[in-house]
Symmetry: C2
Subunit: 242 residues, 2 copies
């Protein structure tokens, strides 16, 4: 048995598992902050890290509720087929340890600002390591059952009411108008990946009383969208109140 | 606190820390076998993994003897300078968790044969994950203080006596003559990386009674070599008896 204490936790634009990308880097406008624990006196350990563009985060899948680990899983991109858990990055694995490469935006004190995250808010961090291309960025790799990522991107559109909601809830900042665009890109990038559970994809199942209507949480907004064929139409935005 | 049980351990050509490459992939002829623990019934979890070319190994640096973790470390390639531990892949970190991408050679039952390893024999494995290029193989990265790897490769030569030792200890197999060449490549690849501690590099310090003579363990052989400028001259091979 090995015991590890978390060195910090992640604050993330993704407040719940649903909607969180299943790989890092896929949504460049997604953001997070790694907060290292002040009581561990880790400050000097960050020296030199700002010279690196990317970071490995080794973390715990803390939102796993199912304690019964199965050796075969249904990866979202496998259209209902099963494969061995060690041939996937599924969170439901014998040791619920996760691994993500993210981009370093800036470092301030014990806060590491990152982007391209697939980490849920509150994720405990076990270790961070610099991304070293010579050892980590491999070419001529083969990725088994995984389909090409481009094949699965959805179209994303905003209904006029949703744009009005967005402008009301997050007024365009006078000095940082690009913040508004970033939020739209974050919604778009997240939905392009089709966060629906595999079960619903390509079926007529109704996850809630409204036909084909789904919602997910981003920052403090609830994003409501309707699936129309291969297009996700954002129809409403509301504050979550959290 | 998080508790994890190892899912298996690594059998490796590197029997001790000295000589073990500091990054994976650097010595393609280095080999290892991940043995998953039979009592955990993980067999079905490996299904589909053979379709991937590379694997992440998340492991424990079990040979750390120094329990006093420092926030600044001396990475071997930094020529005596210090930097923050989180800007390095040093084993001496708050949570002694390691991360290596290795090549999958073949899978037989609960054994995963790998190459390009930087793992010491006996390393406990916490998790294995497929290498997925779309998320893991990043381009346009920046690697802080790290010098170009090519700059530090040593020349490696074999003295005639060492070649005789090698032929005596590991006779050229009639049906697999390439095994002999592989072992030479493994020795060469390992020495090219200059496994000496930073402390000795470029100095006249004498680590043992013979001037500039070093030894390291590979498979069950002790490889003795002498540094002559930027050339490592292999002068003797002997069985370790382990």
């Amino acid at each position: 048995m090995f015991q590890f204490e978390e060195i910090g936790y992640v604050e993330s634009c993704y407040k719940e598992r649903f909607g969180t990308p299943r790989q890092a880097i896929l949504v460049p406008s997604s953001w997070g902050i790694i907060h290292l624990r002040p009581e561990l006196n880790l400050q000097d350990g960050l020296e030199g890290l700002e010279g690196f563009s990317h970071l490995w985060v080794i973390f715990v899948f803390h939102q796993n509720t199912n304690k019964n680990i199965k050796m075969k899983v249904h990866p979202p991109r496998m259209q209902g087929e099963k494969t061995g858990v060690f041939a996937t990055r599924s969170p439901h694995r014998p040791n619920p340890i996760g691994l993500s490469a993210v981009k370093i935006e800036k470092i301030e004190g014990l806060k590491i600002f990152i982007s391209g995250v697939d980490l849920v808010d509150g994720t405990p961090v076990l270790d961070i390591k610099p991304y070293i291309a010579e050892a980590d960025s491999l070419s001529e790799t083969r990725s088994g059952w995984l389909p090409s990522p481009a094949a699965h991107r959805l179209e994303v559109e905003f209904a006029p009411e949703a744009l009005l909601d967005l402008q009301r809830l997050r007024p365009i900042p006078q000095h940082e108008p690009e913040r508004f665009l970033q939020l739209m890109q974050l919604i778009r990038g997240t939905l392009q990946l089709d966060p629906r559970p595999t079960f619903y994809k390509g079926t007529n199942e109704q996850p809630n009383p409204y036909t084909n209507v789904y919602g997910f949480c981003l920052e403090n907004l609830n994003i409501v969208y309707r699936m129309e064929g291969q297009t996700a139409l954002v129809i409403k935005l509301e504050e979550t109140g959290k």
